[in-house]
């Protein structure tokens, strides 16, 4: 289609005119849509013809043995890795393959890394402040002021993540579990439409895991959450739908019970006692 016909369609909303606040369009179905995605490193196919659909407000768990391509999949969704083929759509309007990491993040996709990554030289409060949804261009950031509303929002998240007493501490001195919580807190500050959470409960105590499970299930509904996790107990406690990845593609999908009785899955996990 030529550019002229595009401009003559008077009723069309152009990309550059579209409202920036929560621009994702989920009227026509899923919030995240991966189709026929393949990526290889030096001939090794880390992701092989992967198809995945996440509905708006869904809580999805993704499991799979080491090397199944879970982290690479997250890299593709967040723009860190470009696939060789396939398409990735966020809602029905945004082609994620044409965007870079900050664009994707501003669209409302938040990510928690496998290894907790927080800004160690900054305080807990400052970590949350940076994560906060705001105009993140250079000059607005330079002149940004912290309003009472912002403080309240940060306070709320501090409360939720149990880091209230530590707000002035440097993030570097936190324990592993506290860093996990801080990172989850940073995700919440972003107010994303879709949360990608990579191994959220590694290094957490039983109690902390319970709180995390509560938090994630609580989020689902308003936001979509994708959890990659190894801890089967944890997955069982939160999962509604589970996707099993194996060698870069979907092996099985369904409820936890259905999946764990699937003979293909059992074979892959043989001896791991799903």
């Amino acid at each position: 289609m030529s550019i002229f016909t595009e401009f003559t369609e008077r009723d069309r909303v152009f990309d550059f005119l579209a409202p920036t606040a929560s621009p994702v369009d989920v009227r026509h179905g899923p919030i995240l849509y991966l189709e026929d995605v393949t990526v290889s490193f030096d001939g090794f196919r880390a992701i092989d013809d992967l198809n995945l659909t996440i509905d708006d407000g869904e809580l999805r768990c993704i499991i799979g043995p080491n090397g199944a391509g879970k982290t690479t999949m997250m890299d593709i969704i967040t723009g860190k890795t470009r696939p060789d083929t396939g398409s990735v759509w966020f809602g029905s309007r945004h082609n994620l393959l044409r965007m870079n990491e900050p664009d994707i993040a501003s669209l409302g996709i938040g990510r928690k890394f496998q290894k907790p990554t927080v800004f160690e030289a900054l305080s807990v409060f400052e970590n949350l402040e940076l994560a906060m949804a705001a105009d993140k261009r250079v000059f607005p950031t330079l002149t940004a002021r912290l309003t009472g509303e912002h403080r309240d929002r940060i306070g709320e998240v501090l409360e939720m993540t149990g880091l209230k007493d530590l707000w002035r501490r440097e993030a570097g001195v936190l324990s592993h579990g506290q860093k996990q919580w801080l990172e989850i807190g940073m995700l919440l500050m972003q107010r994303p439409r879709l949360l990608l959470v990579d191994e959220p409960v590694a290094g957490m105590t039983e109690q902390e895991m319970e709180r995390t499970a509560e938090l994630l299930t609580g989020l689902a509904g308003q936001q979509s959450v994708v959890v990659v996790e190894h801890d089967m107990g944890f997955v069982r406690s939160i999962a509604r739908t589970v996707t099993v990845l194996h060698q870069g593609s979907v092996l099985a999908e369904g409820s936890m019970d259905a999946v764990s009785n699937d003979p293909k899955v059992v074979e892959v996990y043989l001896g791991e006692g799903i």
């Binding site: 990491e101 305080s123 402040e129 940004a144 002035r168």
Partner: protein, 380 residues
């Protein structure tokens, strides 16, 4: 935490540390000026105009060090090419000073600087136009380094060249510029550079008054540069910059355009370096391609490392200490200077990673008290 509701630019003025720095700087400068003006020549406390100008050069270096600390300390970019921005700013000023010579040059040509007459050029190259006007030259002092930093930074940060690679590239940048400026055909005086300046804004550079004025101007520029950098590092952007330094990928996933943050701070830093160079040239009386040499650039990094990385006042301390030591050493035993400088590099990196600033008694962070009280409140 500073009062975050003030305007970002004036926010540092409310900080104790910035006030202390500005106070000390003002006191030291007043002392220098008084020692020069009040005590007669020959008096034990008299400071000669030569020494005042030397102090002025140190202050230029201090401003340059602050600029390097801004990118290295807070953004994590180890620039081994900041000497290039310093030199470009210096050359811009030098071009203005050359044009001011007018007919007083050896060949007495009204427009062309001596070296061009010597090369049998019959007209000014296009890029020399406008440098007879002070406002234009001063604007170029800011814009030329900024443009260089912008082009280089845009290419480098866009393709995510970071860490060691970036350092090596910055070194290559300044090395390439040095080679280029050595060429007569470039129209920058070849390896002799510019010298024999006569006057600046109508004031003769040979008089004590002008030199004293330049010294004061340098001090003011350092103060402004310091406050500007402090304003940036205490702003939210400053925290984002630290975030880029420590976890670039994470920052990106929060929605910040890391390359733009890097580019902005890099360009600001290059402009500060350019100003430092521009103030340096009339005080040193010469600018030549040696200012582009990779060794000079890496020496700046040492000043910052010695003073204490990511503490702006540390950069100032480092620049002053190293350059004072250099003056003393090269006066007494020039042979030993490179040994001392080399040893200092090793010593600082191996034994003093936080620099002199790390040795200073640290004010207890108020946070700890706060968290204690909140903890008590919480338990109460």
């Amino acid at each position: 935490m500073t009062d975050s509701n003030r305007m970002w630019l004036t926010r540092p003025l409310t900080e104790g540390s910035t006030r202390l720095f500005l106070g000390l700087l003002a006191a030291a400068m007043t002392a220098v000026v008084l020692m020069h003006l009040v005590f007669p020549e020959g008096h034990a406390l008299h400071m000669s105009i030569y020494t005042v100008t030397l102090m002025g050069k140190y202050l230029c270096y201090a401003l340059l060090a602050v600029a390097v600390d801004l990118v290295w300390g807070y953004l994590g970019i180890l620039s081994l090419g900041h000497g290039a921005f310093f030199a470009v700013g210096g050359y811009a000023m030098g071009m203005y000073l050359m044009r001011q010579i007018g007919t007083r040059g050896e060949y007495g040509h009204p427009v062309l600087p001596d070296f061009m007459v010597f090369l049998n050029w019959d007209q000014l190259p296009w890029y020399w136009h406008g440098f007879d006007m002070a406002w234009f030259a001063f604007l170029m002092v800011l814009l030329a380094p900024a443009a260089l930093a912008f082009v280089f930074g845009y290419l480098a940060f866009r393709s995510r060249v970071t860490g060691v690679y970036l350092s090596i590239m910055t070194q290559a940048l300044t090395f390439a510029l040095m080679l280029a400026f050595y060429r007569n055909e470039m129209g920058f005086g070849g390896n002799n550079g510019f010298t024999d300046f006569k006057d600046l804004l109508g004031f003769s550079l040979l008089t004590d008054g002008t030199r004293l004025g330049l010294f004061i101007a340098t001090g003011v520029a350092l103060a402004i540069g310091y406050v500007l950098c402090r304003a940036i590092v205490t702003s939210k952007l400053g925290r984002v910059s630290v975030a880029c330094r420590d976890a670039e990928a994470r920052t990106r996933f929060l929605g910040y355009r890391v390359e733009r943050v890097q580019l902005f701070i890099f360009v600001v830093s290059a402009m500060l370096a350019g100003v430092a160079g521009a103030l340096y040239v009339p005080q040193a009386g010469i600018i030549n391609p040696n200012q582009f040499s990779p060794i000079f650039s890496i020496e700046i990094v040492l000043w910052v490392a010695l003073g204490g990385r990511a503490t702006l006042y540390g950069a100032v301390i480092g620049a002053l200490v190293v350059n004072y030591a250099k003056s003393v050493f090269t006066g007494i035993m020039p042979e030993a200077w490179l040994f001392a400088l080399g040893g200092l590099f090793v010593f600082v990196t191996v034994f003093l990673p936080k620099g002199i600033a790390g040795l200073l008694p640290k004010k207890k962070r108020p946070d700890d008290d706060d968290s204690d009280t909140t903890a008590q409140e919480a338990t109460a």
